[in-house]
């Protein structure tokens, strides 16, 4: 008996050991996939990506998506006269040149390709923001000309979280919300919601034209998101609604009735997905979705005239993605997408919401987009990864578009990586542009980029990249005829660097800087682009639970347009300080934005007030959050 037992043990032990080994290697493959999906290993991929994570942003007192994007090299924040936030990537100023997604769902509308209505989305609901600096049309289609931003919410993640948060601050700012999730019968239910508002106004002093008054910056905003996840099916839905004051007025005239004049946005989307590993080498994802966008504006046109607009559109889409690792060392993505968008409401009226309605854009606009794409990531050997992709888009309302890209990353050793990327991207003209000029074609961009990542140690990381890009067939507004035309091209040359230094186990210092040379057709510097942006962030923690986060940002002054007689926009320095205290699962933080009250100004075109956009000075916010 002993003999047989010994034999059995000797026979089984290696099998057990082998099983453990195989199981462990499979787990490493699984977590490598997690690392890829959550962009933990972006340094080993050919693209130039910045990932902003919730934990880091909260330590620095960041409130929303707009403020978060200031932490991306080469991004300039601006505002329109109406108070609408604009994000400028690498000097590309035209609307619709940045693609925004929420959990992978497209937010850019067909009307104006705008994305501003998600800029106030609070950081407490976000797991991370993935930002591609530069072009990305192969995977993301239209609008991915100068940057792609994907907001990944907490509820879309696998973990179950319960999070409550409240805030209060200057200008009667108040915010409250929650992230809740639970699992019932193998279905994960997650819900998030928030409500925020403030009553900000800024005094506009009298000027030479005799105009003065109050600039209305109030806002009132809420959103509810729902995510259901079972083994293969998931549903992701969200409604977001905001009401905003018109700041300097949509047409540069302070609203005479600030309680009444405002602009409202409502965005709704829902996406049902089926996701299945057909076999260990192939994954299939099929999605069906609905997107609705509504915008209402009421603003002064002159002292006695009021403009009302009411616009609504909706889209249906379906998308199929197959990720295959059948061919050794390859990760091949094959995708197809079909989308149908239609204008639903399209009213413009003068002085009365109900009478004398006219269309804002041509009536009965609709658009069908059919796309196919493929992208392969190939590991040539342990040190060399190559990525190649191609996309074809057919738009029913203008010509089609082909977007290729090619990239490589060479891992010289554990410390050094070299990257190179070429990509072609496009932007479909928006409906407001096509209404003005039905002959418009897509804007096209070609970019080349190289980069170096040097990790002297985990405490000393240096990243530098240099790019050159050209946007051809740019769609711009003719200053005389006010029609959209397409007869110019812009060139952008730049360098971005990011250096992380952790001098001790207690501190982290991050330095970022970017230089942009943006030129028009004639080689002249583009106006309203800050050619130098720099920032320093410093965080340190005490054993007692206190965390200090400091953020200093420099924005170089920018040249004015040739028609703008004002002096050059001055340089600006902004310093924010956050002090947080952690006790168990509770975190309290006090945030001082623009601590030294130097004032935050955005460069806007000449207006009746002869000033740049005054965003106000120092604000203080108190945040309290609890995870349970």
């Amino acid at each position: 008996m002993k003999y047989f037992l010994t034999l059995f043990t000797l026979f089984c032990l290696p099998l057990f050991a082998e099983d453990i080994g195989v199981d462990f290697i499979e787990s490493l493959d699984e977590v490598s996939e997690i690392a890829t999906k959550t962009k933990l290993n972006v340094d080993d991929t050919p693209s130039f990506v910045t990932v902003l994570r919730n934990e880091e942003l909260r330590q620095l007192g960041v409130k929303n998506v707009f403020e978060a994007l200031a932490f991306v090299p080469g991004v300039q924040l601006k505002k329109e006269l109406s108070g609408v936030p604009i994000v400028v990537f690498r000097g590309a100023l035209q609307k619709g040149e940045v693609k925004l997604m929420v959990d992978g769902v497209n937010i850019n509308n067909s009307y104006r390709a705008s994305i501003y209505y998600y800029m106030d989305f609070p950081i407490e609901l976000i797991d991370r923001i993935e930002v591609i600096r530069g072009a990305g049309s192969v995977l993301y289609g239209s609008n991915a000309i100068s940057g792609v931003v994907n907001i990944i919410t907490k509820i879309s993640q696998d973990a179950t979280k319960q999070d409550l948060f409240v805030s209060t601050g200057s200008y009667n700012y108040n915010k409250g919300g929650a992230v809740l999730s639970t699992t019932l019968h193998d279905i994960k239910f997650s819900l998030d919601s928030y409500y925020q508002k403030d009553k900000k106004t800024i005094d506009v002093p009298a000027n030479a034209s005799g105009l003065e008054g109050e600039s209305d910056r109030r806002f009132d905003d809420y959103s509810v998101g729902l995510n259901l996840k079972s083994e293969h099916f998931s549903f992701n839905g969200r409604i977001k609604n905001d009401t905003n004051g018109n700041a300097y007025g949509v047409f540069g005239i302070l609203d005479t009735d600030s309680d009444r004049f405002e602009h409202k946005d409502r965005s709704i989307f829902g996406e049902l997905s089926y996701n299945n590993d057909i076999n260990p080498k192939n994954n299939l994802k099929i999605s069906l979705g609905y997107i609705n966008y509504n915008q209402e504006v009421e603003t002064a046109l002159a002292k006695t005239a009021v403009i009302n607009t009411d616009y609504e559109e909706q889209s249906y889409f379906t998308e199929l993605n197959l990720v295959s690792k059948l061919i050794e060392n390859n990760r091949l993505l094959i995708g197809a997408r079909f989308e149908y968008s239609k204008e639903m409401k399209n009213d413009f009226s003068l002085n009365s919401k109900e009478q004398n309605k006219n269309p804002i854009i041509a009536s009965d606009f609709d658009r069908t987009i059919s796309s196919v794409y493929l992208n392969d990531e190939y590991s040539l050997n342990q040190n060399m990864n190559i990525s190649a992709g191609l996309r074809y888009d057919y738009y029913s309302d203008f010509k089609d578009s082909i977007s290729p890209n090619l990239g490589a990353v060479y891992i010289v050793n554990e410390q050094l990586r070299l990257k190179a990327l070429y990509s072609h991207s496009f932007r479909a003209p928006s409906w407001i542009e096509l209404t003005s000029n039905s002959f418009l074609e897509a804007e096209k961009s070609d970019s080349i980029e190289t980069g170096i990542i040097y990790k002297y140690s985990v405490y000393n990381i240096f990243k530098l990249n240099i790019y050159a890009s050209k946007i051809k067939d740019m769609i711009t507004k003719d200053s005389v005829t006010r029609k959209y035309i397409q007869d110019t091209k812009n060139s952008f040359y730049g360098v971005e660097l990011d250096y992380t230094y952790i001098p001790s186990n207690a501190m982290e210092l991050d330095l970022m800087a970017s230089y942009i040379d943006a030129q028009d057709d004639d080689g002249e510097t583009l106006p309203n682009v800050a050619n130098m942006l720099a920032s320093a962030t410093f965080t340190y923690e005490l054993d007692s639970g206190f965390v200090f986060g400091s953020f200093l940002r420099y924005i170089a002054g920018s040249k004015r347009a040739s028609t703008d007689p004002r002096d050059t926009m001055k340089d600006s320095w902004i310093f924010n300080q956050t002090v947080s205290y952690n006790y168990k699962n509770i975190c309290a933080s006090l945030v001082f934005n623009d601590l030294f009250d130097s004032g935050v100004y955005y460069n806007i075109s000449p207006n009746r007030y002869n000033e740049d956009y005054d965003n106000g000075g120092r604000t203080v916010t108190l945040n309290l959050s609890m995870e349970f």
């Binding site: 453990i20 462990f24 787990s27 997690i34 690392a35 340094d43 080993d44 590991s379 985990v458 923690e541």
Partner: protein, 189 residues
């Protein structure tokens, strides 16, 4: 006020790294499995239970709770025929608690060294959130590249009486240098 601020600044620092939740998810998948890669683990566990102590300080408590939940969600307190028990443990209590695996959130050097000492005493495995802690005697951490790879400090493993299976050594990076935080790739035994 200024002096109070400066005084608080001089009190011993903890860690400035913000903890990444996606990385915790990866750690939760690998932690219990990696313990089975020790040849002698069966002789070290009691009552057929692998005890994992998650060490935290004031700034990492919420992350410790999150990791604990992730391990429980994934393993439902069981791996193969063994029970898995997770315990949240403040660093100042590490010397009083015997575990089979100590997971370390970023902390000061005093806490790291205290944990290393305890782990050697009870022949336990140490796994750190930060791979830089290997220079202070931690046995294991992870390197996140295109592929996730364990990093092993073999000297530290030897002092804690841990002998890893060859399959793990074959796929891991081996920590070789104490001075410049560099790692060699695979097989350097």
């Amino acid at each position: 006020m200024r002096y109070i601020f400066l005084l608080s600044f001089l009190i011993s620092f903890s860690f400035a790294f913000s903890i990444n939740d996606s990385l915790l998810k990866i750690h939760a998948v690998l932690l219990p499995k990696i313990y089975l890669m020790d040849y002698n683990f069966k002789n070290k566990i009691k009552d057929n239970t692998i005890t994992i102590a998650i060490l935290y300080d004031a700034n990492s408590y919420r992350n410790a709770v999150s990791l604990d939940e992730k391990i429980k969600d994934r393993y439902k307190n069981k791996i193969q025929d063994y029970n898995v028990k997770t315990v949240l443990l403040p660093y100042n209590k590490v010397s009083t608690f015997n575990a089979n695996l100590y997971y370390l959130f970023p902390s000061n050097i005093k806490n790291i060294k205290r944990t290393v000492k305890k782990a050697k005493e009870v022949k336990a495995l140490t796994f750190s959130y930060l791979n830089n802690d290997l220079k202070d005697g931690i046995v294991l951490s992870l390197e996140i590249g295109k592929k996730v790879k364990p990093i092993i400090n073999l000297n530290a493993a030897k002092s804690a009486d841990i002998t890893f299976r060859p399959v793990l050594l074959k796929i891991s990076n081996i920590y070789t240098s104490k001075d410049n935080n560099t790692f060699s790739v695979g097989n350097k035994l």
